[in-house]
Every structure is written in structure tokens, then in C-alpha cells.
């Protein structure tokens, strides 16, 4: 597999840190060098957050320059849109369609943007899914990121078993089942 730059965008508190951890450990298991990066601190309280994972035979900086991202995992549509300028021209966006309005939208200062997905689809390769809906069907709304990782995993040259092993290691014992199911829903998506 050629090197892959992955960007994860979402809202503070959505579990971005654990997602970068799972992806990086899977990459290491598969024999790659890997570096990740996530934004922290104040933004954790519902602010905009993004993280990056770079996978290659040798990685130097954990940061992804503009227009150098292969895959964008958007945990929230507006946040995916915000960071989509980071994508390569033929890049791929995997978007959770469940919306989380920001303060400015709640307070009716700004409006939630419409037509973002259509715009993204014109420029990039887009997979969209409401992971909260999937989570509810599984009886656990916290597995959304695992669904997105499942969709992405299909595009990477890392074995399915490796992903499952890493997920098992990183989620609390009683949620392993939910997460493995969530991963598989993602993996077999479309």
C-alpha cells in the first residue's frame, strides 16, 4: 500500500482520540510506520476538533499539509465540510450525516449549511451514513466512529482481523460486541 494520509474531523467529545488510536495501532500491526496528531484542550468541550493519521513506510511529521489528505473521516457533516480543503482532488470523504449544531446555529446567528454533501460529492468520492441510527439499531449510540472506521478499513491494505483485534484491545470489555458489529456494518457498507 502506498502511504495514506487520514484526517478525522468532528466535535469535541465525539471520541476522536480513541479513533486515531485504533487506526494507528492497526497500521503498526500491519508493519507500517505511523504518526498521529489530535487537537485537544479547550476544544474538547464541544468545539471543532480534527486529528490526523499518517501511514507509510517512514513518516516524519504527524501533520498533513493542505491538499495532501487521502481520506477524510467526518464525524459530523459540517466539520467534515470545514476541513475538506485538506483533501486531494480525488480524495475520499466518509461522512456521518448526524448533525450537531454549534452555538452560533442554536442562537440563530448563523444557519446550518445545506447542500454540503452535494458539493462534496461533486469534488470527492463520498460515502454517507447516519451512524447514530446504526448505533441505535445496535443498542449503543457510542459506536459511530467504529462504523466509520469500518468503511475506511475496506480501502486500506490492512487485514480485517487486525482491525478486529485492535478494536477489542481498545474498547471497554462490555462494549466489544457492539463495536465489532459496528465495524462489520461499516466494512460491508455499499
Amino acid at each position: 500500500m502506498d502511504g495514506k494520509n487520514i484526517l478525522i474531523a468532528g466535535v469535541g467529545g465525539q471520541g476522536l482520540v480513541i479513533a486515531t488510536k485504533i487506526i494507528s495501532e492497526a497500521a503498526l500491526e500491519a508493519g507500517y510506520d505511523v504518526k498521529t496528531n489530535d487537537v485537544i484542550g479547550l476544544s474538547q468541550r464541544g468545539g471543532k476538533v480534527y486529528g490526523s493519521v499518517k501511514i507509510d513506510s517512514k513518516v516524519y511529521s504527524p501533520n498533513i499539509p493542505h491538499g495532501e489528505c487521502d481520506i477524510l473521516l467526518a464525524m459530523e457533516p459540517m466539520e467534515g465540510y470545514r476541513y475538506s480543503h485538506m483533501l486531494k482532488d480525488n480524495g475520499m470523504a466518509i461522512v456521518n450525516t448526524y448533525r450537531i449544531p454549534s452555538t452560533s446555529i442554536q442562537q440563530e446567528v448563523e444557519e446550518y449549511p445545506e447542500g454540503m454533501l452535494a458539493d462534496l460529492k461533486q469534488k470527492y468520492n463520498v460515502s454517507e451514513i447516519d451512524v447514530i441510527k446504526v448505533g441505535k439499531e445496535l443498542g449503543n449510540t457510542k459506536v459511530g466512529n467504529t462504523v466509520l472506521i469500518g468503511i475506511m478499513a475496506k480501502k486500506l491494505d490492512i487485514k480485517k482481523e487486525t482491525w478486529e483485534k485492535v478494536i477489542q484491545k481498545n474498547v471497554p470489555e462490555k462494549f466489544i460486541d457492539h463495536n465489532i458489529k459496528a465495524f462489520n456494518i461499516g466494512y460491508s457498507y455499499k
Binding site: 485537544i40 468545539g47 511529521s61 504527524p62 454549534s102 443498542g139
Partner: protein, 595 residues
């Protein structure tokens, strides 16, 4: 043992301390270094603690070093200001067991009130400074720092930045080495910093640094990567070195692992070989200034920003300015216009009702450092002043005196959280009693959520699982009389108490209690809005709870309020502010799955 794992910089430092045979680690929680002590808990051999503040933390680690064990003390950059007093003397005396101070600097101010370059602090304190560039180096440098600290009898600083604390990269694990505890030998020249002993200590301090500069001449900590047929060398350190490696540049690189002291002899030799010396470093021109004051011609900050993080794109741009790159490969794309998203109080956060009440009270409020600093941001915009840890109590007194002298009688309110109260608020409270004017109208609200919430819920003296010190009783002991305790979830009662205390001509203290919504994960049945009753007044919306949004309902002309059941934790505040009882609790059995 040869195991490879991916670790954050913070985890790597904890691991390095463990492998080096470290025994005692202390800290005060602050981004970006919180994870260091949290990860120490994985090693049963190590005693670790979050102390009341950084000064106390340093004193604990100093004591451990004097006691003969390897110790570590971690904090965010501004924390070093708090412990500056013992630090400046510690670095003049000597260590016994190895000691490293971890300073978590925050270029770009991701979660800090300022951006200070603590390499300057390290030099000011006569410490050696190590500057890692990934997790592997974070681990290695922690170990090397402890060892060199013992070899040169001096405290070491490990300067790390936010990106490196939270980045994950591959690390090779090694076994722990058990280190014998050193005996403490009485020696006033080493450990008692009073004249005449201190004069000798000054010379000792200088000699150690001199010796270390000799060591820096060819230590493996610094890496020279030479290219043939180039007349340029870039001197750099830390994460920006990794950015530089992403760019195909026709220049040699001298990467400093130890940024202080720098071997001037080595750089002078290099300067004979190279026509151009370019310094690439984040924040202040530290390396650049070190070279310049030693007569070495170099350039740096004229190409790279003095503030914020330096990204790969910025490195390329700077190198282009310096004439080392003809054509840039990385082109910045136009950013899209997307609504803003700033941080906000969590669903069910107990601070939210207090801020709603204060907003309605239209008073001048002095804030402090913690989650409640978000009281500065829209839609509340309640804090007029927000400075540094524990400062609100001193500031409110000074401002009150000034206003009273000027004849301005407007009420003043100060806010402080429980973690901040114990960190450095108590001393301000004691001072409040000093020359206290009976009629000075000050209202101080202590937000007691029983945890250090901002940094993820570390214990403090207020935590019921730990020391469980009663703030109210402590204040009574100091001599405060007018103290009201209220439950933050009883909105109406809280509002009447706060409004009344603000009116009171004199000092009053309110202890507002409610558990941190993140820490205690409350989940009562969620609330919902009946659109037939809702009058679209937006009172609930103004409380800013994340699940609330005005929305279009079928059969209704006007927008009505709506609560996202997946986000609501059922604290009832919105229902309490609704003037027409449009917000109701869902049935208890109407739980998650059935929605």
C-alpha cells in the same frame, strides 16, 4: 524485550520514567501534560500525585530527589511561573536522585491563556534543556535526562509542546532498570541555600553548565545530517525538524536534542564549512539568539513566525523566502466558509444555570481558569476579565478598591472553581480579609463540581473520593461569615440567592455545588418540548444547552424549541426556565433504544 507500540508523547515520557527506574512523580493538571501522570498509574512501582499546585508539586519532587530517588515533575508552561520560586533555588543547589522537570509549552495556544517559550525559563534557571521531536525521543530523552542529571548534579528540563504530547508515534519498549536509592548526606554547601553557602553554589552552577557544553560537542543527543555540495545548514529542534524532513531540501541539518547549553565550539566549526546558517524553531528566537550572542552569523525569525505553530507549509514558505526553494509544492487551498463552532458547556453542566442567572443580572464579572472560563464566550459573554489561575479573588479586591475610591458603587462578582480555589485561590481569600471594608460590594461565587474538570476530571482537595475538604468550613475558619451554599440545579432558588447577594452591600460568598456532568455521567430520562405549548420565547435556547434548537414543526407557523433526545442528559434546567411549562420529562421507560 523488543516490543514496538504506538504511544503519545505523554505516554512515552511516563514509560521513559518507568524504564529509568523512576519512583516519584508529581504534577498539577494542565494541558498538554495531563497524560503523563495519568499514565504513571499504570506502573505500580511509581508513586505519583496531582498536587495542589505546581509549586507544591515541584517541592514534592525536589524532596524525593533529595531523598535519593529519581523523580519527575510535570506541568504546563504557565505552571512553571507558579513554581518559579523554589525552582530558581533548586537549580542553584544540587540534586541527589535524578530529576527532570517537564514543561508542556503550547505554541498556538490551543488551551492556554498565553504562549510562553519556556526554553527561556530553563536558561534563566540555569537548567539544561532537552527538546524531543517525537514519542521515541520523548521516552529516550526522559531517561537520558535523569541520567545526565545525576552525572552533572543538576536538574534537567524536558521541553515538550502540545503537538508532541498528544501525537502518537512508534516507540520501542525496554525493560525497567532498578536504581539504588542514594543515601542523603548532610552537606550545607549542597542543600542549604543561605550565604555563605550560596556564593559557592553560584560557581558550581556555572561550572556544571560549562561541563555540559563540552559534553554537547559530540553527544548523540544532537544529530548532524550532512549533504554533499551544499553551502547551507539548517539548525533546528523539536517537531519542526520532522516538518523539515518532509521537504526535499538541498541543505545539511543539525538537529539539536539538547537546546541548552549549545556547543558553541561545534557551531563555530560548522559555520566555517557553511555559508548560510538558517535557524528553524517555533516561538522565540532562542537558538538564534544563543548563536548571535556568541558572534555566529545566522538567520531565522526573518523567515519564520515568532508565534503559533509552524506547519509544514510554513517551513516551505520560509525556506522559499530564504531563497533555498525555487518553487513551492504545497499550495494552500481556499478554506470553505462554514459556520463557527466554539467550545461550550456540556449537556447538563452545572455551571450553565449560574451563567444564565449572571447574564440576566447584567453585572461585571471577573472570571478565572477552568471550564467556566467559557463564560467569556457567546452566548453568555459574562466574564469581563479572565486572567490566570486563582487571580479572580485578588483582582476583584483591587478593582473594588479602585472603584470605591472613584465613587463607583456598581456591584462586582468574581468566579472561581474548586480546583482553582485550592490551587491558588485560598491565599487570595485570606488577603480579602485584610483591611476589608464592610460595605465593599463583592460577591464571590465558588463553582464546586468536586473535580478538576477542564483537564478531564483529575482529583483535587474538594473531590469526595480523595480529601473531601469542605470549602465552606475552610472559609469559616479564615473568618468569612456570609457564606451561602446552593444547589446549581435548583434554578429558581439559585437565582433568588445570587440576585440577593449581588445586592448585598458587603462581601458575600456563594458556594454553588453540582457534579461535573462529564465526570459523573448523569443520565436521567430526557426532556422533550411540547410544540403546542411552546410560545417560542427562546428562554430555554438562551441557556445554550447543546441538545436545544429552534425548529420547524409540522402544522406550526413559528419555529418552536426542540430537544435532541440523544444528547439530553435530563438535568431539567431548560424545563425550569420555560415560562409556560412546555418542557417535560419523558417517561422513565422511554429510554434510549425506543427513541
Amino acid at each position: 524485550m523488543n516490543e514496538k507500540v504506538v504511544l503519545t508523547g505523554n505516554q512515552a515520557i511516563a514509560r521513559g520514567f518507568y524504564e529509568a527506574g523512576g519512583l516519584i512523580a508529581s504534577s498539577y493538571p494542565g494541558s498538554p501534560t495531563v497524560g503523563i501522570i495519568e499514565n504513571m498509574n499504570n506502573y505500580k512501582e511509581i508513586y505519583s500525585e496531582f498536587s495542589t499546585n505546581e509549586k507544591v508539586a515541584l517541592e514534592v519532587a525536589m524532596g524525593a530527589s533529595f531523598g535519593g530517588v529519581r523523580s519527575l515533575c510535570s506541568m504546563k508552561h504557565v505552571g512553571v511561573n507558579i513554581c518559579a520560586d523554589p525552582l530558581m533555588t533548586f537549580t542553584q543547589s544540587t540534586i541527589n536522585g535524578g530529576f527532570v522537570l517537564i514543561s508542556g509549552d503550547d505554541p498556538g495556544m490551543h488551551s492556554s491563556q498565553n504562549e510562553q517559550d519556556n526554553r527561556v525559563f530553563g536558561k534563566f534557571a540555569n537548567m539544561a534543556i532537552l527538546d524531543p521531536s517525537d514519542s521515541q525521543e520523548s521516552k529516550d530523552f526522559t531517561k537520558i535526562g535523569l541520567e545526565l542529571s545525576e552525572n552533572y548534579s543538576m536538574p534537567f528540563m524536558l521541553r515538550i509542546t502540545s503537538r508532541l504530547c498528544h501525537n502518537r508515534s512508534v516507540v520501542n519498549l525496554e525493560e525497567r532498570k532498578d536504581i539504588d536509592i542514594k543515601a542523603f548526606e548532610k552537606d550545607a554547601y549542597k542543600y542549604c541555600m543561605l550565604p555563605p553557602y550560596t556564593e559557592k553554589a553560584q560557581y558550581f552552577m556555572k561550572e556544571r553548565l560549562q561541563k555540559l557544553e563540552d559534553y554537547a560537542y559530540n553527544t548523540d543527543l544532537n544529530k548532524l545530517e550532512e549533504k554533499e555540495e551544499t553551502d547551507t545548514i539548517v539548525i533546528t529542534s523539536g517537531l519542526v525538524y520532522q516538518h523539515l524532513k518532509e521537504i526535499d531540501l538541498d541543505a545539511s541539518i543539525y538537529k539539536l536534542g539538547m537546546v541548552y547549553p549549545i556547543s558553541i565550539k561545534k557551531v563555530k566549526e560548522l559555520s566555517k564549512k557553511y555559508k548560510n546558517i538558517i535557524i528553524l524553531e517555533e516561538m522565540m528566537p532562542f537558538i538564534e539568539n544563543e548563536l548571535k550572542i556568541n558572534g555566529i552569523d545566522c538567520k531565522g525569525k526573518e523567515y519564520f513566525s515568532f508565534t503559533g505553530e509552524i506547519q509544514i507549509e510554513d517551513v516551505e514558505k520560509g525556506l522559499e523566502k530564504a531563497g533555498l526553494i525555487k518553487e513551492r509544492k504545497l499550495n494552500e487551498k481556499q478554506r470553505l466558509k462554514v459556520p463557527s463552532r466554539s467550545p461550550q458547556f456540556c449537556s447538563g453542566c452545572p455551571h450553565r444555570p449560574i451563567y444564565d442567572i449572571l447574564k440576566k443580572a447584567k453585572v461585571n464579572v471577573i472570571g478565572d481558569i477552568g471550564c467556566y472560563s467559557m463564560g467569556v464566550l457567546p452566548p453568555f459573554e459574562v466574564h469581563n476579565i479572565n486572567m490566570s489561575m486563582g487571580s479572580s479573588i485578588g483582582i476583584v479586591k483591587g478593582m473594588r478598591k479602585a472603584w470605591d475610591l472613584a465613587g463607583n458603587k456598581k456591584p462586582l462578582v468574581a468566579m472561581i472553581g474548586d480546583g482553582t480555589f485550592f490551587h491558588s485561590g485560598v491565599t487570595g481569600f485570606i488577603n480579602l480579609m485584610h483591611k476589608l471594608d464592610k460595605n465593599a460590594n463583592m460577591t464571590i461565587i465558588i463553582l464546586d463540581n468536586k473535580t478538576t474538570a477542564m483537564t478531564g476530571g483529575q482529583p483535587n482537595a474538594s473531590s469526595d473520593k480523595e480529601m473531601d475538604v469542605s470549602i465552606e468550613e475552610l472559609l469559616q475558619t479564615i473568618g468569612f461569615e456570609r457564606i451561602k451554599v446552593l444547589n446549581q440545579y435548583s434554578y429558581k432558588k439559585a437565582k433568588s440567592v445570587i440576585d440577593e447577594e449581588i445586592k448585598h452591600e458587603g462581601l458575600s460568598i456563594i458556594v454553588a455545588t453540582g457534579p461535573c456532568a462529564l465526570q459523573y455521567r448523569m443520565r436521567h430520562p430526557h426532556f422533550y418540548v411540547d410544540p403546542d405549548i411552546c410560545i417560542s420565547c427562546r428562554s430555554c435556547i438562551r441557556t445554550n444547552c447543546p441538545p436545544l434548537l429552534m425548529k420547524k414543526y409540522d402544522g406550526h407557523e413559528k419555529l418552536k424549541s426542540f430537544i435532541d433526545p440523544d444528547m439530553c442528559v435530563g438535568c431539567s434546567i431548560c424545563a425550569q426556565v420555560c415560562p409556560v411549562n412546555a418542557i417535560k420529562r419523558s417517561k422513565p421507560d422511554d429510554d434510549l433504544k425506543n427513541k
